[in-house]
Symmetry: C2
Subunit: 488 residues, 2 copies
């Protein structure tokens, strides 16, 4: 473990060794080039790494990690850098291991419904590679045309279709890993269950703190015979929320079930003009139903009835791909639209039991009033996975801190009703302060045991997930901690 | 860690302390009473524990574990003792912690589709408790009317309905655990994904080596609107196996898809006389389809067509519960029936990629010929989860060893085709020798890291999962190992 009194790091020797492994082109040293790597999707935190490396193979990753160990320098893995919790944020004097040259789909096994990919492969490429044969890869984060599978693994990413099919962890069969000491191991396999401890499950969502996945075996699913998208428009948020509960209670599990409130609706209509979303609606629900055609027809009918019973003014349905895409367009553009109607926005990610939706949305409205910020709600309603977008102006001094306070209040509300401080964006650097709101000291210590055993030197992505100091208000008691970025 | 030169254990003091926690009735000391506990469902291995205790609460379990730590005595958790891999097998001078008095269903939350149970609750009780409200608990081991949820968690149990709905780990939302040092922690929660490391996933299937689950939050599912069972009868095993592949390739995921060969068919007809299974069939498939009525009707038709295209002589279908039960009756009684037609049988549990079914069944037939034992095949065909039953006479000296050799050959065959040495019965004491066939030294070491960090003294269920000595042929290199039962 590094301490603050450590001797100066011999970067010259380290870089020489990196170049011996990767060649000159695989090692990024120039400060101007390193700017690209100083943050991920959570742009409010920035820190330039000392060096970035671009390996192409498992063995190269292992060599790089071994050199980091030899010189006791921390390393952070990074895919496309679209993460929203700062999971790929460098720290000072660290090595950024970038997987963007590891973009091969290594094998396709359609008969056994799995594919093996390198971590830099873009999420949507997996579906593209198998869609001609009638398959797809289910987890679909909003950033799916740019985010990488390695990052999805690190953050256990979700997406619209995770309501029915589960988040990333449910779709990972096996992993080849480079552990924090440079050892190469295989966990899981090509079949759903393997004996011994489920290390695949622990690794998914461990945000790079337990090592780096270099080959990933993913499950692919058969494309459904029929898909229908319903857009239901409500004059009250409560009615939309009640419909969500009622649909699930009726035993229907839609492929996806998303909700957008009035602010979000108007933002997307201002920016992308779908002309589908009624500007005067208090909320809309987008419900996608997939399966056999006969099944979709029946469930479409049932969802329509439930929405109408709860007071939906209108329910539009679409079976053809073009109209379906049109109905989804506004939802997919919602975050970007928020960026257009406000100088800045802060996206929160929390989970609540579905039945608590009406209450929690009322409380968020109360927080909006109390703190004086507009909050747009656009989220995975079926999973109870909220994404409140707090609109603000970052050029006004002190605003970010206040907005972060509102975000924290929302997370505490999620925990209070039995939910979680993250649904799919991870904890990263951003939310580690809130871990003690959700876990006891003993619970966190138990996770730290696992971290320590895999990552005894603390070199793999330090400063993420776990609060240091233990609670954010508490002063650091130990010098054996990385506190290299001022903000956290 | 105990060594073989350890001082004599002060059982008198230990038992006095146990009685202080549990009362006289909670501590079983008499040798005659302890006979019940000297093996689990794997009856070929037996070892009496020094004492058995019957706690009722989490706190009592924690107290017992702390006393075990204080005196450095190993402890083994046991539910109903139906496990087939010897996971609950005591070792000499050990404490057996029996959960059969921990049988409370602690809470039902139908709105959020989860229940909280104590570990001694019987698997089928969960469904019984919620079926009136239209729900059920999906994992259904054959032993479901007697096996306990705690044991299901330990072994990550499967069952007929795990093809569509996944094995136990997919249905556990959260756990209260007593760790091997007596600390009480909560992992997971009431929602599907929680941040930080997925310790729930690691714990499920860890066979009591990482601690004892004392409160278990399970997901329950809505009962399907319609269920249909099809019985297809084939004159060739290959044709049945091909049908399994074709059904899945067609994008149909049956609730369950089971296969029985001619030996199994005749065994069950001899013993339970279902009068449904044609005695001259080379194999039958039992396919259960669930979902909306319209969906079930369509998929029933498609499955029927696929089976007929592959040469099925006849396909019987049943929608009403009574006839469905009749069709399932023989399958459910298959293991018991094998016990009637042969003095003894040895059940193996391995997994193969579904597409390798025809090849592997031929190879098993070849092993049957080579070694001269009848092998009945009755198994979860849809998952590729084989259960070959090797019929033999244990009263003939040396037979068990030979049969175990055949069992081992089958496991090696499973690994060779990319499968696994266990589908749902666990590794326990029985299969740890085969772990090196499936995992490299580095892979096993990585699992051992996790074990060691949770279980540093090695007191929680020693001698399970991991081969000691490392490979079965190798001599023990360390005295710091429990090798208290001669057989392994």
């Amino acid at each position: 473990m590094l301490t603050q009194n450590q001797p100066k790091i011999d970067w010259k020797s380290i870089i020489k060794k990196f170049i011996a492994v990767l060649g000159e082109k695989g090692v990024v040293q120039r400060k101007e080039e390193l700017i690209t790597y100083e943050c991920d999707g959570l742009t409010s935190y920035r820190q330039r790494p000392a060096v970035a490396v671009l390996p192409r193979t498992t063995e190269q990753v292992a060599e790089i990690v071994k050199i980091c160990n030899q010189y006791s320098v921390p390393f952070i893995a990074r895919g496309s850098g679209t993460g929203l919790s700062g999971g790929a944020l460098p720290i000072e004097d660290s090595v950024l291991i970038v997987t963007s040259l590891m973009r091969q789909i290594l094998s396709l096994d359609l008969e056994n419904q799995c594919v093996v990919v390198q971590p830099g492969v873009i999420n949507s490429w997996v579906t593209q590679a198998v869609s001609g044969s009638g398959f797809y890869y289910a987890p679909d984060p909003s950033s799916q045309i740019i985010c990488s599978i390695g990052g999805n693994i690190a953050e256990n990413s979700g997406g619209v279709h995770c309501l029915k099919y589960g988040v990333t962890t449910n779709h990972v069969l096996g992993l080849k890993l480079v552990l924090p000491d440079g050892a190469i191991v295989d966990v899981g396999g090509q079949i759903p269950e393997t004996p011994g401890y489920d290390l695949t499950g622990v690794f998914v969502g461990s945000e790079g703190t337990l090592g780096i996945a270099t080959e990933i075996t993913l499950k692919i699913l058969k494309t459904a015979e029929s898909i229908c998208v319903l857009l239901a428009d409500f004059t009250s948020v409560d009615a939309a929320a009640e419909s969500v509960s009622d649909i699930i209670s009726a035993g229907i599990i839609p492929g996806g079930m998303e909700m957008m409130d009035n602010i979000s609706i108007n933002a997307v209509e201002d920016v992308v003009a779908t002309n589908c979303y009624p500007r005067d609606a208090a909320a809309i629900l987008l419900v996608e139903i997939d399966g056999l055609d006969v099944e979709v027809q029946v469930n479409k009918q049932r969802v329509e009835e439930i929405c109408k019973r709860n007071g939906a003014r209108n329910v539009t349905t679409a079976f053809d791909p073009e109209t379906r895409l049109k109905l989804w367009k506004g939802r997919k553009a919602a975050f970007a639209a928020a960026g257009h109607i406000s100088p800045d926005y802060y996206v929160q990610d929390g989970v609540i039991p579905r039945t608590k939706l009406p209450y929690v949305l009322q409380e968020i409205a109360a927080l909006s009033q109390k703190f004086g910020y507009q909050i747009a709600n656009v989220f995975h309603a079926g999973d109870g996975n909220l994404h409140p977008l707090i609109l603000f102006d970052n050029s006004v001094a002190g605003e970010l801190e206040k907005v972060e306070e509102v975000g924290g209040e929302i997370l505490k509300l999620c925990v209070k009703v039995g939910g979680s401080i993250s649904g799919e964006h991870g904890i990263g650097a951003d939310k580690k302060c809130y871990m003690p709101d959700m876990f006891s000291d003993t619970d966190l210590d138990t996770m730290q045991w696992v971290r320590t055993v895999f990552n005894p030197q603390g070199l793999a992505n330090p400063g993420k997930i776990f609060p240091t100091p233990r609670t954010c208000g508490e002063a650091a008691k130990s010098s054996q901690q990385y506190v290299n970025v001022d903000r956290f």
